[in-house]
C-alpha cells in the first residue's frame, strides 16, 4: 500500500485523516474490536440515539490531540524559555514528527482495553486493582501490535506512556511526556474529554454538551505554573480561550447530570453487572488477551437475549430486567439536606430497606466523577500567568457543582410499598446518627 492519506467522515470533526502506516493500526484486530463496544454501555435504552462506539471516539481523540499538538508546538505559541527547551523544534527536529506520531497512535489505542459495554462493569468484573488501562497497556505491548509500531518507527513503550498515563504506566514520565499525556487524558481539557463530551452530546441528543472546542484548542499553550511559583510546565490557555473553557465546564456538568448520572442508565449498569457475574466463567472477565479480544458487546447481548427467553438459564432474572425493561426504580437519592443530618444517610437507608424488603429487592449505587478541575494556568495579555480560578467568576461559582450521585434502588414489584414505607420512616432512619 503506498503511503497516501485516508479519510474517515465523522459527524463531529467532519474528516479525520491518517496515512497508510497509521491506517494499519486502525485495521488491526484490537482496534476493529472497538466497532463493537458501545461508548455509553446500555444508555441507548434510555437515549435511543446513543448507540455510538469506541471506534469513532478513538478516531476523534486522535484528531483532536494532533490539533492540540500542532497548536502548542507552534513556535509562535511558545513564550517561555523553559518551555522552548522542552518542546522539539517543529521546523528541523525529527523528534517533533516522532512525538506527533506517538501521540496520534496513543490516542487511537487509549481505549483498546475496554471491556464489553465500556465502564459499566469494570470495577466489579476485573481482578482487584485491574482496570481497562492495564489491558490497553498489554495490547499495545503485545506481539500482535509490534509489527505495526515497527512500521510506524515508534516505540510501543512511548505509545503506552501517552495512552494510559502515569497512573497505569507505573513508571516515571518526563515533563515532556507528562504534557503529551495531558493532551490526551488531561483532566482539564484533554482530547479524550473534548471528544466524548461533543460526541455523547451529539448522539444522545443532550444538546447542553456542546462548547466552542475549536476556540479552546486554538488558545491552548504550554505554560510554566508561575502562578504556583513553579517552573513545571502544564497545559493552559491564553486569556482569549477563557469563555470556551468556561463553557466546557458547564457542558460537562450538564451532560453528567442529564446523561451519565441518569438513574435508569445507572440501574441498567447494575443489572448488566449482575448478569455478567452469573454468566461469565468464575464470575469475572478473563484478562488473557485472546479472551479479551474475542469478547464484545455482541457476544454479551446475544447471551442476554438467550437467557431472557429461557427461564432455567443462568442469569435469567437479570437478563429479563434488561430486555423486559423491568429494571429497579429509584427509592432514594442522596441530597444535601439529608447529608446535613447524617453523612452516612445512604448506608442507613440501604440497610433499613434491605431489612424491610430483603436483599434481593434492594440495590445501591455510587458514581462519582472529579468535580470541575478548573485550576489551570492562563496567559494574560501582558505575558504574566495567572490561575484560571482567579480570573473566572464562572469557575468560582462552578466549584460547588456536584459531580456525584448515590442511589438506593428498589425492585419494581416493591416500589409502591417502599415509597410509602420510606415516607413514613425517613426521619427515624436518618435520625439514627452516630
Amino acid at each position: 500500500m503506498s503511503n497516501r492519506t485516508h479519510e474517515f467522515r465523522d459527524p463531529i470533526h467532519s474528516f479525520i485523516k491518517l496515512d497508510s502506516e497509521e491506517r494499519k493500526l486502525v485495521d488491526s484486530r484490537p482496534f476493529q474490536r472497538l466497532r463493537y463496544i458501545h461508548q455509553l454501555a446500555l444508555s441507548y435504552l434510555v437515549y435511543p440515539g446513543a448507540t455510538h462506539r469506541r471506534f469513532e471516539h478513538s478516531l476523534g481523540v486522535m484528531d483532536v490531540s494532533s490539533r492540540i499538538y500542532d497548536v502548542v508546538t507552534d513556535p509562535e505559541n511558545i513564550h517561555h524559555d523553559s518551555v522552548r527547551k522542552l518542546v522539539p523544534r517543529r521546523d528541523s527536529d525529527y523528534e517533533w514528527s516522532y512525538w506527533r506520531r506517538v501521540l496520534r497512535m496513543a490516542a487511537l489505542c487509549h481505549d483498546m482495553g475496554h471491556l464489553p459495554f465500556s465502564h459499566a462493569a469494570e470495577a466489579t468484573l476485573l481482578p482487584e486493582g485491574t482496570r481497562h488501562e492495564h489491558l490497553s497497556k498489554a495490547i499495545i505491548l503485545s506481539g500482535e501490535m509490534k509489527p505495526i509500531f515497527d512500521g510506524l518507527k515508534i516505540r510501543p513503550e512511548d505509545v503506552t506512556k501517552l495512552a494510559v498515563g502515569p497512573k497505569y504506566y507505573e513508571a516515571k514520565l518526563s515533563d515532556w511526556e507528562a504534557i503529551l499525556y495531558e493532551m490526551i487524558g488531561g483532566n482539564v481539557f484533554g482530547a479524550d474529554r473534548i471528544d466524548y463530551l461533543l460526541r455523547d452530546s451529539y448522539h444522545s441528543g443532550v444538546a447542553y454538551g456542546r462548547f466552542d472546542h475549536n476556540r479552546l484548542i486554538e488558545t491552548m499553550r504550554i505554560l510554566p505554573r508561575e502562578d504556583q511559583e513553579s517552573e513545571e510546565p502544564a497545559l493552559g490557555i491564553t486569556l482569549g480561550g477563557l469563555q470556551a473553557a468556561e463553557s466546557l465546564l458547564w457542558a460537562r456538568y450538564f451532560i453528567y447530570r442529564q446523561l451519565y448520572f441518569h438513574s435508569v442508565r445507572r440501574i441498567y449498569d447494575i443489572h448488566l453487572t449482575e448478569f455478567l457475574q452469573e454468566w461469565l466463567k468464575d464470575g469475572r472477565f478473563s484478562i488473557l488477551l485472546e479472551d479479551h479480544l474475542r469478547m464484545t458487546d455482541n457476544e454479551v447481548m446475544a447471551a442476554i437475549c438467550e437467557a431472557s427467553t429461557a427461564p432455567t438459564a443462568k442469569a435469567h432474572e437479570a437478563a429479563c430486567r434488561i430486555t423486559g425493561r423491568q429494571h429497579f426504580r429509584v427509592l432514594y437519592e442522596s441530597n444535601l439536606n439529608d447529608e446535613k443530618i447524617n453523612l452516612a444517610n445512604v448506608d442507613l437507608v440501604f440497610q433499613a430497606a434491605t431489612k424491610e424488603f430483603g436483599r434481593e429487592s434492594v440495590r445501591r449505587d455510587f458514581y462519582s466523577s472529579e468535580p470541575a478541575s478548573e485550576d489551570f494556568p492562563v496567559r494574560l495579555r501582558d505575558g504574566k500567568i495567572a490561575s484560571s480560578l482567579a480570573l473566572s467568576e464562572t469557575f468560582r461559582v462552578g466549584q460547588g457543582l456536584r459531580f456525584q450521585v448515590t442511589f438506593v434502588f428498589i425492585s419494581p414489584e416493591s416500589k409502591q410499598r417502599a415509597d410509602k414505607w420510606l415516607d413514613e420512616n425517613r426521619a427515624k432512619i436518618l435520625g439514627e446518627a452516630k
Binding site: 510554566p224 504556583q228 513553579s230 447529608e339 462519582s368 482567579a390 468560582r396 448515590t406
Partner: protein, 185 residues
Amino acid sequence: MPEFNTASLILALTEKLREHQSWAGETHVQKAIYILNRVLRVPIPFKFILYKHGPFSFDLRDEIGWMRSIRLLEWEVRSNSYGSSLRTGQLSPILKRQFPEMPQKHSGEIEFVAKRFAGKNVAGLERLTTAIYVTLDETTPPHERADYFHALKPHVSIPEAEAAVLEADALIQVVNDRSARAMVA
C-alpha cells in the same frame, strides 16, 4: 465509595495547615499527605507516583474532588493571580462529629507536618517531596541522588536538588529520632 475516616484525616490536615498560615492549595495538601504517609507512616490508602510537582496521587486527587463534591472541602480564591486554597466546607462539622477517630489518633503527626511545612510554597514542597521520593527509592550518596533528581525534574537545578536531598535526609532523621523517643517514653 470513598471512605469517611480518610476524608476526616484530610480535613483535619487541611485545617491545621491553614492554622499554621499555609497557602493550603491542593498541591500543599497532596505533599503534606505524602510526607504524613511515607515519612511519618500514618496509614493512608493512596499510591503516589512522580508526576505533578513531585510525588502525586491520583487517588488522593479523586478523594479531594469527592470531598469538594459533597461540601466537605471547598476552594477559596485569595489572590488575583495565584491558584486557589482549600478550606473546610459546609458539611465539614458533620464529618468531624461523625468520624473523629483518625484525626484524634494521629493528631501529633498532623501537627508536626503542618507546623513544619506550612511555610513552604509549591516549588519548595516540590523540591522536598521529590527529594524524599528519590531518597526512599535510592540509598546512594546525596550528590548521586541530586543528579537523579535533576534528571527527573530538569527545571530544578542540581544545587537546588542537592539542597533538597540534604533537607530530606535531615527530616527523615528527625522523624526517626522522634519515633525512637516515643518508643522509649
